[in-house]
Subunit: 358 residues, 2 copies
């Protein structure tokens, strides 16, 4: 087994989720990630955890979702019961084909998300982590050889996360007490929002592996202006390109996409919260130096900012504030490397990707 | 997709488990069985069922079980909660390597079985079926090409199960009201037992697919004599050969095995019920015409009888009787094709594999 797989597994089990004796652990993963899943399982055994292994069946899942009528979509009592019984949830992503769900009706996807909101809520109550195995399908999506993609993934994942926490805390200290944020990039992105009273989180590889961002929630109705998202994203098994949004009083009042605008329609229509921002994140992982069509990595890339439509995570919403509620959480990325800046309460904290503390 | 896969899936969903709108279904399968799992999932979608797909990770499971200490083995709250929430459980077996768990300590295997007895009980309360996909690893175990093994599996599975029920009911009518059963084969098997008051079940492809046996439970303390099991069996990922058992007052008082006797030791030691018989079954599926090292098929072979150490299924225990209780249920097979007979209350009902009604 590749030594990098062992290191990845050790970080998952000890750093991200702190698996201990007696913990009820759900380990899910794609069959293509068998090496990493097997090593994580071995470590869970060594730690004395109680392990349930649930590998993905993505072809079967898509076949099921293509066949079902919307009226029959409902909450999975099986999934809810199992997540509620878990202390730790470890999800190892991998794909044989990143377009496997590309022909599931977006309305059905949205219906499943709505019906299973409680399952998602229960998952967020556990010590959970989502990570990536460098499978050939994901290398293909990144337009890289599998060997090069392995270097990329393990370069971003296998690092000293305590050092990362320390480096990123410089930005947390700026944002945590702040109110107004102003993001400008090129001619098309000029947006302001308040983050007053909302805690800023330091993502150093706990819930997401790789980590490498600093994030908080905008005050939902404070967002004003326009954003052009330069980078494509995958949603519901499809690629959406060139998304532009215009916000008034926090709500999307105008939008367009250069590709698969119908998927964007369906996302925005899911519920009222899907038209508002739930997250402002700033990518700081400089080991992620190229875009790979995978939000887990893309959103942490250095010289980028991302904003998510939909749900605000509880730990980014201050006690005095109300978090945006939705079953959607769709991240989209703005390139900040050129002709760009971020101002916080009138002070420029980043210019063309370089922070004031760098 | 192979038309035989579609037929197999249809039998699973409609005949064996009667999946209907709103049913909570757990579908588990090996990644090698992806074709069949995908088609079953599609049908579950068409029927409007609520589906949770959980593919096996057998390498990971074995790594976990090799690493854990016996003192940390306990009931999986996650597995129990999910099974308790299910109406239907569909298990599609397949193997990449039928010896994947061959180096897990038999004591750990037994500890997991004991700790998770309630999970097993809950599964038996659902509409469950266990079936087989003809994967190359299983073809290898059967010493057949994959193509020949596909013919074998689908020949045994894809048939008119109503015809089977009718044919087998002739034997049910003999055994259901009977008391004494006497099984003799060659010089080494001569055993008597009572089945008085215990219902005889007709297995026509509901819980096991293929079906093709008629079975009941012996009165646990009535078993007397010796049995030599001619056919090898797989237990805990290992092959056990040439098992001989001697029963007094229903209990195994002497035993031996020609290969892996230590595994037999561990099985018999699991709990008190593991030393008593929980099942007497008579194979009647003549489409299963060769031994393939797979109990799901072997026990239904024509011209065989099988007996299981351990648990008696509830539906084979009469209201006046007590069923044998154990977490073990290990089937073993006696060849009845030559120099053999079965007598029921003194009447010879089978001789050298041929029934009186044939």
């Amino acid at each position: 087994m590749d030594e990098r797989v062992r290191e990845h597994a050790r970080i998952i089990v000890d750093h991200s989720t702190d698996v201990s004796a007696g913990d009820e652990v759900i380990l899910s993963g794609h069959p293509r990630a068998s090496d990493l899943v097997t090593e994580v399982a071995r470590l869970c055994g060594e730690r004395g955890a109680n392990l349930a292994i649930r590998m993905n069946g993505d072809r079967a899942r898509s076949a099921y979702q293509r066949a079902i009528d919307a009226e029959n979509v409902s909450e999975s009592a099986v999934s809810l019961a199992s997540i509620e019984a878990a202390d730790v949830v470890i999800r190892v992503r991998a794909d044989e084909n990143t377009f496997e769900s590309s022909d599931v009706d977006p309305a059905i996807n949205a219906a499943f998300a709505r019906a299973n909101e409680a399952v998602q809520d229960a998952m967020l109550e556990t010590r959970w982590v989502g990570t990536q195995y460098p499978a050939p399908g994901n290398a293909q999506a990144a337009e890289m050889s599998t060997a090069a993609y392995e270097d990329f993934v393990w370069g971003a994942v296998n690092k000293d996360w305590d050092d990362v926490r320390e480096y990123q805390s410089q930005l947390v200290e700026i944002l945590d007490p702040a109110d107004q944020v102003h993001v400008v990039s090129g001619d098309e992105t000029d947006v302001t929002m308040s983050i007053a009273g909302n805690p800023t989180q330091n993502d150093f590889g706990e819930k997401n592996l790789p980590g490498g961002e600093v994030f908080t929630a905008p005050i939902a109705d404070s967002v004003e202006g326009t954003v052009h998202f330069d980078k494509p994203l995958m949603a519901q098994g499809r690629e959406i390109r060139d998304v532009s949004l215009r916000f008034e009083d926090g709500e999307v009042v105008e939008y367009s996409a250069g590709k698969n605008e119908a998927v964007l329609d369906s996302v925005l229509d899911t519920d009222p919260g899907a038209k508002r921002l739930g997250e402002l994140g700033i990518g700081m992982n400089r080991d992620i130096d190229q875009f790979t069509y995978n939000m887990l990595f893309d959103e942490k890339m250095g010289d980028t900012v991302h904003m998510a439509l939909g749900r605000a995570y509880d730990d980014t919403v201050g006690d005095e504030n109300e978090g945006n509620d939705s079953v959607v959480h769709m991240d989209m990325i703005v390139d900040m490397s050129e002709d760009s800046f971020i101002e916080v309460d009138g002070e420029r904290i980043q210019e063309d990707g370089t922070f004031v503390f760098e």
